[in-house]
Each structure stands twice: as C-alpha cells, then as structure tokens.
Symmetry: C2
Subunit: 233 residues, 2 copies
C-alpha cells in the first residue's frame, strides 16, 4: 500500500478506503455478504488472491473481523464498528453517482448474473408465498441467457444452470431494461406496458411478482439529469 505522507484525515482515510476494489468490498459487507464465496459473487471480476489480500488488509486496519464459527468451518467476515461507520460514505458515494451519471448504463457494465445476485438479497421476504417458488429469467438482447431464482421461505438462491425444480414463473426481459428498472430509471409498470418485460405463469404469481422484487437501494434517488434539458426541451 502506498501512502500519501499527509496527516490530513481525508488522506489517512483514503489510504484505506480509496484503494481499488475496497469501496465495493465494503458495499458487499454492508449489504450482508459475509462468506468469501458470497463476496466473490458480488464482485465477479475480482481475483481470489486480490480479494483475500484486501480482506487481510481491512482486518489489519480494524474495519473487518474474521470470525471462524465453531459450527461451520467457513470463516465469516464482519464489519467492526469502525467499518460499519463507513455506511454513510458508501451510500452517499453511490447516491452521488446515481444523481449525476447513472441513467446511461455502459453496455460493458451489464451483468445479468450480478443483477440476479443483487435481487436475491433484497427480496421482500414477507411477501413471498410459504412454499418454494422457482422464477426463470430469460434475458433477451445483449447477453441473452437464462437464470433461475429459487425463492424459499427461509432463504433464496440464484442458479446459472437449470435447477431440478419445476418453474413457476418465467420473466422474459430485455437485459438493459431489467437493469434500468432495477436502478429506478424506468418503472416496472412502464416496462411491462411496453412489453420489454413479460411475465408468464400463474396469474397470482405474476401479479405478486413486482411486490417481492425490491429494487436497488439507489432506485429511489432522484437524478439531476431529469432537470437537464435534453434537446429543445
């Protein structure tokens, strides 16, 4: 780690916080990922060695605590009070980006798999039926492909390969549109009405689906771009 050689608190904080990948690792921990493999799912492009290195550094810096649970042999990573205290910074950083830049999603940032992973963490569990429900996502357009969300009363999971179970609901969606809806740039209802998203399954499931699906934390942040005249307004 290279230092800045400045006593200024902004510099000292940046030596820890502003390293590559670190804000995203903190985001993952703040969102409730604790196991190494969970962190990897939320950070698909980080290498194992680098993730391990960063976690070690964050532990030495006092932001992260590595816990080896007596029951399982999978260690868990948890934020310390100091780490948790970065919540505001991480959130405001994201909100800032969402306010000023986000309506334009770079094609290279599309990632259906990551999208599903994010979704399965924010489901409104109390709205889910009391049995297992399997939702199949058929993405069309860029990065077309199918993924499955397995919603169980206790915990839900994501599959990239067909699970053995019967599918209860199929969501056919344009890849970019699904991202836009998730980030709040387009409403679910609007995407449905334009047939950019189509639902196929039992009526009750299809009707309830938008209720289970919580959008990104940032979806509710108003962007300044809405005030910027696009063409002769």
């Amino acid at each position: 780690m290279t230092k800045y050689g400045q006593f200024c608190p902004v510099a000292k904080a940046s030596e820890i916080f502003a390293e590559r990948w670190t804000p995203l690792i903190l985001r993952e921990l703040l969102c409730g990922s604790h196991r190494f493999s969970e962190l990897e799912h939320g950070l698909p492009k980080i290498s194992r060695s680098l993730l391990a290195q960063r976690l070690r550094f964050l532990e030495s810096a006092g932001l992260v605590e590595r816990r080896v649970m007596p029951g399982s042999r999978s260690p868990e990573y948890h934020l310390t009070d100091a780490g948790q205290d970065l919540y505001d910074v991480v959130i405001r950083l994201g909100e800032w980006s969402h306010r000023w830049f986000n309506p334009l999603i770079d094609e290279r940032d599309l990632d259906p798999q990551l999208l599903l992973w994010d979704m399965h963490r924010r489901l409104h569990k109390d709205c889910l039926p009391d049995r297992r429900v399997v939702v199949q996502f058929d993405f069309t357009g860029d990065l077309a492909g199918s993924y499955w969300l397995i919603l169980e009363p206790e915990e839900s999971s994501v599959c990239w390969d067909p699970p053995g179970f019967d599918v209860d609901l199929i969501v056919r969606a344009d890849t970019l549109t699904m991202h836009r809806v998730w980030l709040g740039h387009q409403s679910f209802a609007d995407a449905l009405s334009k047939r950019l998203i189509e639902l196929d399954g039992a009526q009750e499931l299809a009707r309830a689906f938008p209720d289970w699906l919580a959008l990104s934390h940032f979806a509710s942040v108003r962007g300044t771009y809405q005030a910027i005249p696009t063409a002769r307004a």
Copy 2:
C-alpha cells in the same frame, strides 16, 4: 483507468472518486485551491504529470472545469456542480478517519510545510490587524526548521525562506505538538501551559494569535478513541 464492470452506482462512483490521489485533489479544490501551483502546494508528494493527468480526467468526467481567465494566463480549475456535490463524501470520509484513527499521527505524515499551507488557508481574516504581520514558526524536534507566515489584510502567504520583512511574532513549537493542536487532539492552551508551544513578540499579537489561527475543519470532530480505555483506565 481500470473499470469494475459493474452497473452498481457505488462501483461507478468509485471508478472516478476512489482513484489514487483523487480524493485529495477534490479536497484541495473544495478548500479553495484553484491554480495548478496551489494544488501542488497542498499535495507536495504528487508528481506534476500525475496531477495534470488527474485534472484532465476529472475534467472529462465532468467534475472539474478548466477556466482560462482573460486577465491572467494562469488557468484555474473549478469544481462543477457535480464536483461540488462530493463535499459531503469528502468531509464524512475525513471525519470517519478522525473519529477512529487520527490521534496517532504517523511520524512519516508530519509535514510542517503542509501544515503552514493549511493554516494560511483557514486564518480568521477578520481578526487580523489592518497591517502586514510576519509570523515566524520555529519548529523543534522532528523536522526542525523555520517557516514564515505573511499575513496581509488582503491575502496571506507562506515562505520557506526568510522573507525580507521584520518578524512580528515568533512561534516556537514542537513539530508533533503543533500538528496535534491543529487536528484538535490537544488544545492550544494546554500546549502553551506545558511550554510545548511558546510565543515571542508583542503582548497584543501573542494574545491575539490563537484567535487568528483557525484549526483544521476536523479539529471539532469528537473521536471514539476517547471512550476506549487505554490502560487499566
């Protein structure tokens, strides 16, 4: 610039904000430095080429505007609205560090020259006398050396070499102590009473000195370390 390949607003923001040196450059701009040379003073360890590169990138990202003033030929760098909107993030980042870590100043982060530069930006101008006052700082201990603060009604400046003017006030201070006072870890009065800081000059100037000298923005932030028992408490 390497990207993260994620649509998440935290990731998109980090691609801009969390690059090396960038939070410190933003801090400088937020503190009111606008010319290239001013930025260099506040970032003594950055290389010219890197500073230029970062400024170009921040301009292309829409956070910074490069203005060539008609009167002077020195261009100025100003934050756009989007850049200014990062104020909260930068401040909270610094406050976070100050809360959890800052009482222990790393010896390698001491920098009397930077300290003086920071000071001259935060002087309480309205408390200054209506004439030029020259303050000589004699740092003792680590990094001993002398520096001069030239306080003029209109603008103040820092000298690393003896200015031609007569000295009105001498501040003899232990280097680490002066840093600690600046950051709010020790009160000016306490340092004076322990003779870690000594003032030498006309009574009125010496008495008024602590009034001119505004401390760091972060000096007023309460640290959690004060609640941590050090030894058997």
